[in-house]
């Protein structure tokens, strides 16, 4: 939320605690993935082909997964409750609480996706493989519209998530994307020097 550690106003920390209490035990968190071994990556062209579908994630993402022998396509959601609570319309609602729901929902889904990644890594390592970081349409210059290609690999309502015509997920606090798998792939933390997107929201942000 921007505050230096320990500097948030007392009422805000109390409100965050109240929101956490309301949302627990967060039973709607779900994550699912499908692994495909029929893939082809062209880092120069910035493309990734999974079965017959060609994605254009750009050179940043395709470069990160260039050594992959398989790809996991995933969806992860924080669920409808936190998503819906963060989207209620003004002016009748408590804006600050909506904001706390919004930030909390983002944090929950990001952490859930990290846990899914951890679980996938554990499984793959048991078979002698490694995994890359996760990459999503909408970031690193990967066109959000390619969500439609991604979701073409999933059954309807996969993981409880649906896609709108404008490529937005519902529940809104959801993430989708791709993870590279292979013996030679490298897990690289998100690093702005890899990406030429000078306008990115997350550029320069310490995570």
């Amino acid at each position: 939320m921007g505050y230096p550690a320990g500097k948030a106003p007392g009422h805000l920390t109390a409100l965050i605690a109240e929101v956490f209490e309301e949302l627990m035990p967060l039973e709607e968190i779900r994550a699912e993935y499908r692994i495909f071994d029929d893939i082809a990556i062209d880092p120069e062209a910035g493309t990734l082909k999974v079965q017959e579908v060609t994605f254009n994630p750009g050179r940043t993402v395709s470069g990160q997964i260039r050594e992959a022998e398989k790809a996991a396509l995933f969806v992860c959601t924080a669920g409808a409750t936190v998503s819906d609570r963060s989207r209620r319309r003004i002016p009748d609602d408590d804006l600050l609480k909506l904001y706390v729901y919004d930030v909390t929902g983002t944090m929950v889904v990001e952490k859930a996706a990290d846990m899914m990644l951890h679980e996938l890594r554990r499984k793959m390592e048991a078979g002698g493989c490694r995994i890359t970081n996760r990459f999503s349409p909408g970031y690193c210059g990967w066109d959000l519209a390619e969500q439609h290609k991604l979701f073409s690999f999933f059954r309807n309502n996969y993981c409880g998530v649906t896609l709108s015509e404008s490529a937005l997920m519902k529940p809104v606090k959801s993430v989708s994307g791709i993870i590279g798998i292979g013996r030679e792939v490298r897990f690289a933390p998100y690093n702005c020097s890899l990406c030429d997107d000078k306008n990115c929201l997350y550029r320069g942000r310490k995570t």
Binding site: M1, G2, Y3, A8, P9, G10, H11, L12, R87, R89, I90, P91, D94, L95, L96, L98, Y99, V100, D102, P137, G138, Y139, G141, W142, D143, L144, A145, S164, S166, A167, L168, V172, D197, N199, C200, L201
Partner: protein, 222 residues
Amino acid sequence: MNQLLEKLSACVEFGKIDIKSPYPPSMKDQEGAFELTRSALDAGISPGEILEEALIPAMSRVGQKFSRNEIFVPQMLMAAKAMSSSMTHIRPYYLSGETKRKGTFIIGTVTGDLHDIGKNLVAMMIEGAGWEIIDLGVDVSVDKFIDAAEKHPGAVVGLSALLTTTMENMRRTVATLKEKFPHLRILVGGAPVTTEFCEKIGADYYSPDPQGAVDYLSALVR
């Protein structure tokens, strides 16, 4: 300045919504923006004076503190909420025509983008500055912007985007709107947007914060 207006201005600046609101703790159990606005109107202070002497300066101070990183989004939201509670008493005067709006501002987050916190903040601050707000929401298609611009001739349009990948949708929206309404003024904002991008896509103004948008609009009607 009238003492009542001074107190009201402080309530908005520090996010004291009403008497029940426990925040900020230093104002606990005191009347907030809601009650003080009612009292000001009952005391014969005009809605225009309340806006010009209390609400607008308060939100301007909030905007400036935000621009200087002295406060963050939660405090902006508290201030905006306090102002909004004040506006519940002021709005009827606009509707009756007794108090004139400065203009109409159409705002929305572009198609493909669901982020609305920044957009809502901008909308509330601009409303507090005396403008009618037509909030089209999030994931707004070009057609919806066109419909709104047709319904509200002379309005200014504000477009928001938070993702670099939806900036392209912002470009398309600006291009289509400018083609259809060459004299339409369009403001753009959102974390990835810059002055250079604004100029490149042919929008009229970019502001990195809500206060900049308020200042731009104020200059238009000065």
